[in-house]
């Protein structure tokens, strides 16, 4: 695809074009959030609304095979510090 047509030339463009859309964010500590992206900066600090967080807890004590328990919670408006961000994925345009 022609980069000038999509407006995507560098990684941050992909995030810029996701403003006001729902994004998926993978975080350190086996956490993921989805939310509507309203702001970001060069540290990948993010501000999201209508957020759902998923925490994966691997239960090694009771289940040595590594059963994963999942905890979810919702938050209205969330600042996410950039140093915890592993990846930001734009909404699927299927």
């Amino acid at each position: 695809m022609d980069p000038s047509a999509t407006g995507i030339q560098e990684p941050f463009d992909l995030i810029r074009l996701s403003l006001s859309e729902r994004v998926f964010v993978k975080l350190r500590g086996d956490r993921e959030v989805t939310g509507i992206l309203h702001a970001y900066d060069g540290h990948m600090n993010l501000i999201l609304s209508d957020v759902e967080e998923t925490i994966m807890i691997v239960d090694t004590e009771n289940a040595p095979d590594g059963t994963v328990n999942v905890a979810k919670r919702k938050m209205e408006m969330l600042f996410v510090r950039g140093d915890g961000v592993i990846l930001v994925s734009p909404p699927s345009r299927a």
Binding site: F12, H38, A39, N45, M75, M77, L78, F79, V80, R81
Partner: protein
């Protein structure tokens, strides 16, 4: 700079700061600096029964680098304004 400004507009509002040691502290945002260090007043630690360590602490300074999340009062966040400001900052960074 953008995020710093956002926090400044939220001074005197109630926020919940979640730290990377899993402590969650709710309080009134009194100030913030360029490192996103945060001063909170009138604090309450979530699940105080399990975390009595801060029972006698009424206000605190939190180092920005240990913050995982800050839950913001959505009614005081103008999302349209934020998106416009973010686009403006992104463009100015490209031009440099």
């Amino acid at each position: 700079m953008l995020i710093f400004s956002v926090f400044k507009t939220l001074t005197d509002q109630q926020v919940t700061v979640e730290l990377k040691n899993d402590l969650s502290i709710t309080g009134i945002l009194k100030s913030v600096d360029q490192f996103l260090n945060i001063r909170l007043d009138n604090i309450k630690v979530l699940d105080e029964g399990r975390h009595p360590h801060m029972m006698a602490v009424k206000n605190c300074f939190i180092r920005g680098s240990v913050v995982r999340y800050v839950q913001l009062p959505s009614e005081h966040v103008d999302t349209q304004l934020l998106e416009d400001a973010t686009r403006r900052e992104a463009l100015s960074q490209v031009k440099r």
